[in-house]
């Protein structure tokens, strides 16, 4: 039989491990949070400084002067406009195309299943590689796309090399890479919709177009919002495609947030300005995701009949 002192020791150990258990269980999450929060707080700190690595003697707190300067900096406003244009254009087109393709593939057949898998191929291509591939295809000298354009009488189309077509070109590449992402999400949504409302509508003789706008689209909206949110957050942070194809040019045509922040850090070693740019980008993404999530919750409540 154990002596009383041994029993109390065991109880003590059990008590300690029971108390420590919640902390131990949450430790991985805590470590991840620290891994995110430390750079975030550091970025805030740097963004409030005049801090260039090439001028260490001039480093000082400027308490938001980087942000104030943005207000009167036409380059910053250009960056904001271009970033938003890029994000909304890409997501808009990808939603329309993704939904269209998903509707075409909605019926579960062997062919549709095979095609939907094949259409995922661009998504498996690294965006930087896709950009290089498109850069070759759009080369005004030997690009295959220019060859096709000459067949229909369009000569000298300069794609990413011209300010008038550079945005169109990178948006096109983004659409090629990411439309399958939207398509697969919406296809999953379409195939999971209940069949009863559609059967009832068919019995009542509701036209297909009306079925789509009155039944399919409202029921699919949570999926559309989810897909749009994911893509918008990624799109507004786009770097690979734009940098690989044009380095942000010609001129300042495509100097989106990430390109500007990258150049400010790695080329100009202007840590303060680069951090401030990224924090503004964070604020924009936070604002956009909040809107989306609020709407998504509202829709869910409505679907449950709570709205």
């Amino acid at each position: 039989m154990p002596v009383p002192s041994q029993v109390s020791k065991r109880r003590g150990k059990r008590l300690v491990s029971r108390r420590a258990l919640p902390y131990l269980l949450s430790l991985p999450a805590l470590l991840v949070c620290i891994g995110i929060l430390v750079p975030f707080v550091t970025a805030i700190y740097y963004s409030l400084q005049r801090y260039r690595l090439s001028q260490p003697w001039a480093r000082e707190m400027n308490w938001g002067d980087n942000y104030v300067r943005f207000m009167s900096d036409s380059k910053f406003w250009n960056t904001l406009v271009v970033s938003l244009e890029y994000a909304f254009l890409t997501v808009g087109f990808e939603l329309i195309l993704g939904l269209g393709i998903a509707l075409l593939l909605q019926k579960r057949t062997k062919l549709n299943n095979a095609v939907s898998i094949m259409l995922l191929m661009p998504l498996m291509t690294a965006p930087a590689l896709a950009a290089l591939m498109w850069k070759l295809m759009t080369n005004p000298g030997f690009g295959i796309l220019n060859y096709f354009l000459t067949l229909i009488g369009i000569d000298d189309f300069r794609w990413g090399a011209s300010p008038s077509s550079a945005l169109f070109t990178v948006v096109l590449v983004d659409i090629w890479v990411y439309t399958p992402f939207i398509m697969i999400l919406l296809l999953a949504g379409l195939r999971s919709l209940p069949t009863q409302p559609f059967e009832a509508a068919a019995l009542d003789g509701v036209p297909r177009m009306q079925q789509f706008f009155r039944i399919t689209l409202p029921m699919l909206t949570p999926y559309i919002l989810t897909a749009a949110l994911f893509r918008l957050l990624e799109s507004i942070q786009q770097f690979d495609i734009i940098y690989a194809m044009t380095q942000g040019g010609p001129g300042d045509t495509l100097t989106v947030f990430q390109v500007e922040a990258y150049l400010n850090y790695f080329q100009s070693t202007n840590v303060g300005r680069s951090s401030a740019l990224l924090l503004i980008l964070w604020a924009i993404t936070f604002f956009i995701s909040n809107i989306f999530i609020k709407n998504w919750l509202r829709l869910r409540e409505r679907a449950r009949g709570e709205g």
């Binding site: 001039a58 000298g141 090399a161 300010p163 044009t246 040019g249 790695f266």
Partner: protein, 477 residues
């Protein structure tokens, strides 16, 4: 190795034989030029050991950060000799140029001691030096206990050597004042014309000798699938520094002016505007259709593939495109180029691949042992004669008759071009910490002008205003 061959190599190193005589005798012994070079290099390494204790860091390892480049290839090909000479080990990581400088910035800014020595450009040291990431190499160069007496620092081309030194005082010219030697020149590029001799002959055109002729000749050579002139155009500082700035400096124009230690923009003078207008017209009339995405790579490969008739860019692009399996190999020729008709000689701005020493290296003396070998006259000659280590930075290598003969045979006109433009070759930019910001913006402005988004006059005035704002914000203007 056979004693006879070793004796011949020894006689050469002792000055009893000229290089030509040596090669003749090696040939008589049935040795190929490359085998002879290797034997000579091995003997040279042994001769090096006679005057200096190369073994003082035996057993130590130096780690290098390298850009994928023929200069790095030449060094790697000769590395066994260094290891035999010093008893040291060398490790290296090698990256393509697209990502190379990001890797350097990340390694240095994080204070990593992983790399002891790295390849750099002189412009980069205008950031690395003041940031405290690289060592001033004067303290090793001037220390006889640490530097081989035959290193012969004065053998380095003066303009090139000075271009790697800067006091850190914004606006003070390279190599002047209390200049710190932030890096050691390794190989360098001048900017001149390389042209397709067959295309010129077929068109009955002479090589242009100033900017106006260049515009006319480039236009005359432009056809459906061939464009007249290749120059860089991407939204990068690298668009400004080669041909463009070489011609700009030839008119006596500056990027910035320095008054009482304050910097201000100088790119909107009347002469500058006239030069810019000509440059822009040349690209619009005769440049690549996708000029705004052209880096050195496209400029070079288009010349090699026969898509462009000439380039005004780094001379070594013309060198490399005239060999290998390039379509136009053997058809290229070279010419020194002075954009200003009133200028006495060309004034090429230069790019210098150099070696820098990380401040965070744990054994700087061992790192220097490697650096002095890699930038020494023996390796320079090996690289230039056995590999593609052009352009060498040492006068002794340029004076080597076999090297000159090799170039004259395979690359006619190259040596002459180099010799004519070398006296005016140096960095023509004003050294200052915002170099990359301002030149990238300059390139972006040029893209707008070429695209017709803004007139040249207006574009340059806007650029000057923006440059002045940035200089003021950084406390430099």
């Amino acid at each position: 190795m056979y004693e006879k061959e070793k004796g011949l190599a020894r006689d050469f190193l002792e000055g009893k034989l000229t290089r030509r005589q040596l090669i003749k005798r090696f040939t008589a012994l049935g040795l190929s030029a490359s085998s002879a070079g290797i034997i000579l290099n091995m003997q040279a390494s042994q001769a090096l050991a006679a005057d200096f204790d190369w073994k003082q860091h035996t057993g130590k390892t130096v780690k290098l950060l390298l850009n994928k480049h023929p200069y790095a290839d030449a060094m790697i090909a000769n590395l066994d000799n260094f290891k035999a000479l010093t008893g040291m080990n060398v490790e290296y990581d090698i990256f393509p140029e697209d990502v190379y400088f990001d890797k350097v910035t990340a390694a240095l800014s994080s204070g990593s001691s992983e790399y002891d020595v790295f390849m750099t450009g002189a412009y980069m040291t205008w950031t690395y030096g003041p940031a405290g990431w690289v060592e001033d190499l004067n303290k090793w160069i001037q220390d006889p206990a640490k530097t081989n007496p035959n290193y012969n620092w004065d053998d380095m081309l003066e303009g090139v050597r000075a271009s790697c030194a800067w006091s850190g005082k914004p606006g003070e010219d390279v190599g002047t004042g209390d200049a710190k030697q932030w890096c050691i020149p390794w190989g360098y590029e001048q900017n001149n014309l390389a042209y397709n001799a067959d295309m010129f002959k077929a068109a009955g055109l002479a090589v242009p000798t100033n900017i106006d002729e260049l515009i006319d000749v480039a236009a005359a050579l432009t056809k459906d699938d061939i464009y007249g002139i290749g120059v860089r155009g991407s939204r990068s500082w690298a668009t400004i520094h080669p041909g463009f700035l070489s011609g700009y400096a030839n008119f006596g124009e500056k990027d910035l002016t320095v008054t009482d230690g304050k910097l201000s923009a100088a790119m909107n003078t009347d002469v500058s505007k006239e030069y810019h207008a000509k440059w822009v017209k040349m690209i619009q009339d005769s440049g690549a259709k996708d000029w705004s995405t052209h880096t050195w790579y496209q400029v070079g490969t288009d010349l090699g593939a026969g898509k462009s008739a000439m380039i005004y860019d780094a001379d070594i692009l013309g060198y490399f495109m005239n060999g290998g399996d390039n379509k136009m190999a053997g058809k290229l020729a070279y010419a020194p180029f002075a954009a200003n008709p009133d200028a006495a000689a060309p004034t090429p701005n230069i790019w210098i691949w150099s070696l820098g020493m990380s401040t965070f290296s744990k054994d700087k003396d061992a790192a220097w042992n490697f650096m002095q070998w890699a930038s020494g006259p023996e390796h320079g000659l090996f690289g230039a004669t056995q590999m593609d280590f052009v352009n060498p930075v040492r006068k002794s290598v340029w004076a080597d008759e076999m090297f000159r003969e090799r170039l004259n045979t395979s690359y006619p006109g190259y040596v002459e071009m180099h010799d004519v433009s070398a006296p005016g070759a140096k960095i023509h930019f004003t050294p200052q910490p915002l170099f990359f910001d301002l030149t990238t913006e300059w390139a972006a402005s040029m893209q707008k002008m070429v695209a017709g988004e803004v007139p040249v006059d207006e574009g340059l005035d806007q650029l000057a205003e923006s440059v002045n704002d940035q200089l003021e914000e950084a406390g430099l203007g």
